[in-house]
Amino acid sequence: MHRTGELYGQFQTLDQQREAASLGMWVFLITEIMFFGGLFLAYTINRAIYAVAFAEASRELNVHMGGANTAVLILSSFTMAMGVWCSQTGRKKLLVVFLIATLALGGVFLGVKYFEYAEKFHHHLVPGYDFHFPDVKPEIAAQDPYINAHAQLFFSLYFGMTGLHALHMIVGAGLLLWLIAQAAKGRFTPAYNTPVEIVGLYWHFVDIIWIFLFPLLYLIDRHT
């Protein structure tokens, strides 16, 4: 394994290596934006066309769990940022603490997600698996005779978007585990903390995706 701050063979200087790693992560995140973007586009178009069905379906989501998860994730971004600061200022033990905290919060997010998904299974709200949208008030049904199908569309997008997000969180958790192991060995110093920074970038990105997902999916027409 490489020791602290070792220069990889293809680079000329450590600066170049750091610059490349950082640029590489930013470019990767841009591709992720385009990837999620397609789903966001499909969601936006269908939301505009089937506003009533989507509002009804959205009300079936557990906004408390979703809201809690939002707070958890924002907090985890904070702990991650603190971890990056620790690595920049040589606070090696505190770095490990913050990384573990971030991982733990990520675990809480995924745990809550598990319960949310389980709830959906019980309520027959998983598309393709005996999906049945609960009966709605007659005046709502009158506005959209095909509300079952359109609600299923909503839930397909819900599971697609949050599932993809959760997958990215799991990858992030894996990266954090690796980072914790390396940090515990004292590998990161102010001179060399690139992996912490780029994992931080990735984690913040995953957080931002959720910050868009939460209001779009959970908060439509909450007041009506």
């Binding site: 009158a142 506005q143 959209d144 005779p145 095909y146």
Partner: protein, 323 residues
């Protein structure tokens, strides 16, 4: 004509001449530039071939004026191509008012075409020459496309909605039509013939057949069977607006906008009436999505069209409820 000039299909519609002319302009420009580029290459190859193994070329970096010239000239030429093409396309998409409407349904792997009087054909279309024809196209399954090369017209046929196209056949004769959007196994055999006849011959052909029942009459029966007439009275006292004279008119909606009551509007009002509520009426009409077939919608539309001759009642006062 066809056999002597196997490079172009026959010109048998109002669009064909203009399309071919634009194509010819494009062809001339293309041949000119291809010849120019080939000529320069050949010239350079001959004049500047290497004479000495260690020879190098001249020290020329570029020329901004030249770059400007060969940017601007192609730009201007292509804008002409764009403008001309756009004008043809706008013409394609703007049907005249007094068209003879034919309903066309595509399905794997055949075409069903219905004349205004209800007479149906399969993979055949008889039309009169020199009369504007509008095709209203739908699909029962996947995307197809109705293409008549001799007319230079083509339009995709999409499930779940109508598309339209129009043309005026200018020459009698029989012309191929093809499906030209891949639709599965027998995509290549899903075609037929358009027969263009003199107007008198066409009338004779129409009346010569036993024909199906007049679609408007079928529609009238449906109107009763489905209890449409319980709300849509001929006066404005019903729970729904009267349909006398509605087809082709401008309807005021409850959200303040106006819409023209065309075939698409009628279809949507049957399948999903809550989408557009007429001003002064309540959203009471049940949706018929899944309860009527495409054909029944066509028949009902024909019936509603036939109500054009009836006097339209005045619109109800905006604030008056109807219950």
């Amino acid at each position: 004509m066809q056999s002597q000039l196997p490079l172009l299909p026959e010109q048998a519609s109002n669009f064909a001449g203009n399309v071919d002319a634009l194509m010819l302009y494009l062809l001339i420009v293309s041949v000119f530039f291809s010849a120019l580029i080939t000529g320069v290459i050949v010239y350079c190859f001959l004049k500047f071939r290497r004479k000495h193994p260690r020879e190098i070329g001249a020290s020329i970096q570029g020329s901004v004026p030249l770059e400007a010239v060969w940017t601007v000239i192609p730009f201007l030429l292509s804008m002409l191509m764009f403008g001309w093409g756009a004008s043809i396309y706008i013409n394609y998409r703007t049907a005249p008012k007094d068209t003879l409407d034919i309903y066309v349904i595509g399905k794997q792997w055949m075409w069903k075409l219905q004349q205004p009087d209800g007479r149906r054909e399969v993979n055949e279309l008889h039309i009169p020459a020199n009369r504007s024809i509008k095709l209203i196209l739908g699909s029962e399954d996947v995307i197809h496309d109705f293409f008549v090369p001799a007319f230079r017209v083509k339009m995709d046929v999409i499930p779940g909605r109508y598309t339209t196209m129009w043309f005026r056949a200018t020459k009698t004769g029989r012309y191929h039509f093809f499906c030209s959007q891949y639709c599965g196994t027998n995509h290549a055999v899903m075609g037929g013939w358009v027969t263009v006849m003199e107007p008198a011959e066409y009338s004779a052909w129409l009346s010569g057949s036993s024909g199906e029942a007049n679609p408007a009459a079928v529609g009238a029966k449906l109107f009763e069977q489905l209890a449409c007439n319980s709300c849509h009275l001929s006066t404005d006292q019903g729970r729904g607006p009267s349909l006398n004279g509605v087809y082709g008119s401008t309807v005021k909606l409850s959200d303040g906008t106006r819409v023209v009551a065309d075939d698409a509007y009628i279809r949507e009002s049957i399948l999903n009436p809550k989408a557009k509520i007429v001003l002064g009426y309540q959203p009471l009409m049940p949706a018929f999505q899944g309860l009527v077939t495409e054909e029944q919608i066509l028949n009902l539309t024909e019936y509603i069209k036939s109500l054009q001759g009836q006097p339209a009642p005045p619109p109800p006062a905006p604030t008056a409820g109807k219950r």
